[in-house]
């Protein structure tokens, strides 16, 4: 059982986290055609090596995290908040409308 070092909570057992799968770029829903959209939905690169994934610290702060992990060694190369998003408090200071931010 590896640990993940949550940017909010510190190092925790991976059993506290829910795996959200490989992060893939979403095609623009407005212009997408079936083939690339379904590739986005159903296929993973599943590389033997570094991969970018989404994890949820379900039994902790319940924040979603972007994790870069080497699948051959389980080495965690980086953990960060998604999309360079502002922190929780900053987000609540925001009054602006929808902004399109991707991880």
């Amino acid at each position: 059982m590896i640990t993940l070092s949550c940017p909010w909570c510190g190092p925790r057992n991976v059993t506290e986290f829910a795996y959200g799968g490989e992060s893939g770029a979403r095609p623009d829903p407005a212009t997408a055609t079936p083939q690339p959209w379904r590739r986005y939905l159903y296929t993973n690169a599943n590389p033997a090596g570094p991969v970018t994934e989404t994890w949820l610290h379900r039994a902790g702060c319940r924040r979603y995290l972007v994790v870069e992990r080497d699948t051959t060694t389980n080495e965690i190369l980086a953990i960060r908040r998604p999309g360079g998003a502002p922190s929780t408090s900053a987000r609540h200071a925001t009054t602006g409308r929808a902004t399109e931010q991707r991880p």
Binding site: S5, P11, G20, A30, T54, I76, P82, R91, R97, A98
Partner: protein
């Protein structure tokens, strides 16, 4: 000579300097019904050996008598039953007063055993006998199974777990974990603690000390000093505990066998750095007769004499190849045993061991037969590299010392003691001290992340000096064949036969013969097995390699793996009322809900005719606040939300990105920036995460705050034509149809409880109010409503009645009438989906579904024969081919007939179509597609009344 006991053999010695028995505490216990006596500190077998008992079990396959071999936890022939506890390691477990110990795997008795006959038919039980003998004919497999079960080594477990058994789990986070409490482990632990590390030291035996415990007085003096050092340190010590496995991120499983008040405890240790000081296991010598009672390892006789003051025999032949064997000779002579020594370093050997039920003599190297009742071998060591293997090591065989050495490890695993090399005690302790200090440095280094994955690298790169190695003769098998695996009854001849049959690698031969696969799990037999395979294939042990050690290193009970039961159960605040009123419990995820109160059909009629009330607390509830809530709703629901006025409620459906229906529910607008969303009960947790995922990862700029309030409210639905009459006198909310219409929400007081939320919605198809009450007042409001409704014929109803009511009304249940492939267009929701919205989750797939047309759609069906109720999942067939299925079905008390929802292809979806429904019993019946999904009140007059 098959007697299990030598009568009158009083073999307890005078007090020994290192003995662990308390001679002031003598008590009785029984062995196979016969009373014996033991001292406090005796193991089961040491007490019985002192009474002259030599045979403790019958072997697995050939039913050969077996006695003490190792006098340790590993002893393969000393597994016994203690009271109702099976599979107790008799050479490790300390006997307690009054215990009833019995032999196991003896059928019918220890002295006389039916399976002895197998020795005569041994040719049927040779290598791979499982795979050959019991194959054909197949009709006899059940018979074979019964025969083989008789062979299974094991005691008798009680039918129910005794109440006294207590298991637990815990976590520990030491900077440094030391596996092995011998001199090296003790020294390393103390050094690490002195260096500021938090240290956990784990020792499998009952005391710290390793081989020093059964050493000479010089060893005992050194041990006393080491123990004093440990006692003066902050090291946490676990004895009678074993490190059973190493996993990713330097996580270790530690099994504690005598934690206070517990049968067994599993401690999950996340170590900064682990020091493996597991030491060496003495290896048996493979020679004819090597399994006879009376053949012991040198460490076993040293344990018996020095720890338990037991004289293991009267005349001994000792084959020694190392100082431990020489020390055993000295111990034996001091204990008054006559010793014939064969020194392997000077060419001595033993050819075969003679005897039937026990040792009577030895044929030695020069052909002479030496009478004796004890044979002692000291022919080499097996390195306990299990934990190192689990850390990525590939131990390398070093012929000069005739054992394996570690080769590569990650930085968070260090090795010291006998695993690392040989030397005098002082030098070994220096190495251990250096290991402890290095471990402490690495573990407490600022910035070191515990649990990170570290790459393995060659051990020569490590910062610890290499220990010298002392030459040791390579001794595995004598001039004759003998047993390699005492647990599985596998001999060197069997391994040679396996190789001859083509199983010519250790991994193949091991599986074919089952060598190393018994309760000892290779700790005694692996290297001998590899040596036998190497010999038969004509290669070296180094070339043959070793088999891979996998966790666990030592047995763990299922109880310890399970630990305490922490499965949570959720109930609503109204649960006490349900229990008193005879609710049949329904397990729904973590919730226990009332399925019905005895008569679900009557509950349905009460709702249709008068009024009913149901506890719907498990419905997911999310409090949504912020100016961007409408954007969120617009994004996640397939229908439109921008124009929901304050005080209004709307039904919504969510789809996943593949267009498949994910969840449904109603959301109401309580204030300008304040909404309450409901989800399905089973979707409550998942939809919260779904929303947070979108807000955190995709729309981080949106100002929405989500608070789960599922259990902050007790929820109940008051349904039926008289529900308004029941509720009106109890609330300050104006319930008149004009003031509080269908699909509206109000907040107010109910039964004097403030801050309640009232939704006028109707899953049941009746006039109904869904009431969300602060949870602490749930039972009060529930009971007040029931009391107020008594004159109106109110009746509590359960999930079963609700399912029937909603089916009569044609309301779908996500996950029941849809499955993991049902897109919104196939769920009868096509009209709800607003494809003209600029964007919502699932839109691309729903656009394409509309373009291509649906392949299946949800319809209401009624069997032509009104008495038929096709079970859910009955198939809809055309010309014998399955084209659809019944998704929901009940007998409708309102209509007095069977009613269904089902998925059918579009060409069968037109109202009035007759479809064939194949029932599970094979009968085909005809059902008619209905015009509306609702069987009852399709116009919704009752709902809006």
């Amino acid at each position: 000579m098959t007697a299990a006991t030598t009568p009158g053999a009083a073999t307890r010695l005078d007090p020994q300097p290192g003995e662990v028995i308390d001679r002031t505490d003598r008590f009785a216990f029984t062995w196979n019904g016969v009373e014996h006596h033991a001292y406090r500190g005796d193991t089961i077998t040491s007490a019985l050996a002192a009474a002259g008992v030599r045979v403790f079990s019958r072997s697995f396959k050939y039913s050969r008598p077996r006695g003490i071999l190792t006098a340790s936890y590993l002893d393969p022939g000393c597994t016994v039953q203690v009271d109702d506890e099976p599979n107790v390691r008799g050479s490790h477990r300390r006997i307690a007063p009054g215990q009833a110990v019995t032999a196991q795997n003896v059928w019918p008795s220890l002295d006389r055993d039916v399976k002895m006959a197998n020795q005569a038919v041994g040719r049927f039980l040779t290598a791979g006998f499982y795979y050959k003998t019991f194959i054909k004919p197949q009709r006899l497999w059940p018979t074979y199974q019964r025969v083989l079960q008789r062979f299974a080594a094991g005691g008798t477990a009680p039918d129910t777990a005794p109440d006294r058994l207590r298991y637990d789990k815990r976590y520990a986070h030491p900077d440094v974990l030391v596996a092995g409490g011998g001199p090296a482990g003790m020294k390393a632990a103390v050094a690490a603690a002195k260096h500021g590390a938090k240290v956990l030291l784990v020792e499998e035996e009952h005391e710290l000390g390793g081989h020093l415990r059964y050493g000479d007085t010089g060893d005992l003096d050194r041990l006393a000093l080491l123990r004093a050092e440990v006692a003066a340190s902050d090291v946490e010590v676990l004895t009678d505990a074993v490190v059973a496995g190493r996993y990713d991120g330097n996580l270790f499983a530690v099994v504690e066998r005598s934690a206070p008040g517990l049968t067994e405890r599993l401690t999950k240790v996340r170590a900064g750095v682990a020091i493996v000081a597991a030491g060496l296991i003495e290896r048996p010598y493979v020679v004819e007769g090597n399994d006879l009672p009376g053949v012991l390892l040198s460490t076993a006789v040293r344990r018996l004499i020095n720890l338990h003051a037991v004289k293991p025999g009267n005349r001994a032949v000792v084959l020694t190849a190392n100082p431990q064997g020489d020390a055993a000779i000295a111990d034996l002579q001091r204990a008054g045993v006559q010793v014939w020594a064969e020194d392997a370093r000077a060419g001595g050997d033993i050819v075969r061991i003679l005897g039937r039920g026990g040792v009577v003599g030895v044929e030695v190297g020069d052909g002479r037969k030496v009478p004796c009742d004890l044979v002692v071998t000291a022919t080499g060591w097996t390195a306990t590299t299990s934990l190192l293997n689990m850390a990525g090591d590939r131990p390398v065989y070093e012929p000069r010392i005739a054992r394996f050495l570690p080769s590569q490890l990650p930085d968070d695993v260090l090795v010291t003691g006998g695993l690392a090399g040989d030397d005098d005690l002082d030098e070994l302790l220096d190495h251990a001290r250096a290991a402890g200090e290095l471990a402490a440095e690495r573990a407490t280094e600022p910035g070191s992340v515990r649990g990170a994955a570290l790459p393995v690298r060659p051990i020569v790169d490590a910062c610890l000096p290499a220990l010298p190695l002392h030459d040791h003769p390579a001794m595995f098998r004598g001039p004759t064949h003998g047993f390699v695996d005492f647990s599985e009854d596998v001999g060197s001849k069997d391994l040679a036969a396996a190789v001859a049959e083509g199983y010519d690698s250790s991994e193949l031969a091991k599986r074919y013969t089952t060598a190393t696969m018994g309760p000892s799990q290779g700790k005694l037999e692996t290297v001998n097995a590899v040596a036998a395979v190497a010999e038969a294939t004509g290669i070296t042990i180094g070339q043959a390699g070793t088999t891979t050690w996998r966790p666990p290193y030592a047995p763990i009970t299922l109880g310890a793996l399970a630990g305490r039961n922490f499965e949570p159960v959720r109930v609503s605040p109204m649960q006490p009322w349900h229990e008193v009123h005879g609710a049949a419990p329904l397990v729904a995820g973590a919730w226990i809900r009332p399925d019905h109160y005895g008569d679900p059909a009557a509950e349905v009629r009460a709702v249709r005719d008068e009024v009913g009330i149901i506890d719907v607390t498990p419905i997911g509830k999310l409090d949504l606040q912020g100016p961007d809530v409408p954007n969120l709703l617009e994004l996640l629901y397939v229908n439109k939300w921008q124009k929901l006025d304050v005080g209004r409620v709307r039904y919504g459906v969510m789809c996943a990105e593949d267009g498949v229906v994910l969840d449904d529910g109603v959301t109401g607008r309580l204030g300008p920036d304040h909404y309450l969303m409901s989800t399905t009960s089973s979707g409550a947790a998942g939809i919260w995460e779904w929303i947070e995922n979108w807000l955190q990862t995709e729309r981080p700029g949106w100002d929405v705050h989500v608070t789960p309030v599922t259990t902050a409210y007790a929820s109940m639905n008051l349904a039926g034509p008289r529900s308004r009459d029941v509720l009106a006198p109890l609330t300050d909310v104006d319930l008149s149809a004009d003031a509080f219409g269908y699909m509206h929400v109000r907040t107010g007081t109910i039964a004097a409880v403030e801050d309640c939320v009232l939704w006028r919605i109707g899953f049941t198809g009746e006039l109904s109010y869904e009431l969300h009450v602060p949870a602490g007042y749930g039972l009060h409001v529930w009971e007040t409503l029931l009391a107020a409704g008594a004159d109106h014929g109110i009746r509590a109803f359960g999930v079963e009645a609700q399912r029937t009511l909603r089916l009569e009304k044609g309301h779908l249940i996500v996950g029941q009438d849809t499955d993991g492939l049902t897109k919104a267009g196939s769920a009868g929701l096509g009209g709800l989906v607003k494809l003209d919205k600029p964007n919502f989750v699932g839109k691309p797939e729903l656009v394409w579904q509309q373009e291509v047309g649906v392949t299946s759609t949800l319809v209401a069906l009624q069997p032509v024969d009104p008495t038929e109720v096709p079970p859910e999942a009955s198939q809809i067939v055309v010309a014998g081919r399955t084209v659809g299925r019944i998704t929901s079905s009940r007998r409708s008390p309102t209509l007095g007939r069977g009613v269904c929802l089902g998925q059918v292809p579009p060409d069968l979806a037109a109202p009035g179509t007759h479809v064939t429904v194949r029932l599970p019993d094979g009968r085909d019946i005809v059902a008619v597609v209905q015009q509306h999904l609702a069987h009852v009140d399709p116009e919704g007059a009752r709902l809006r009344g």
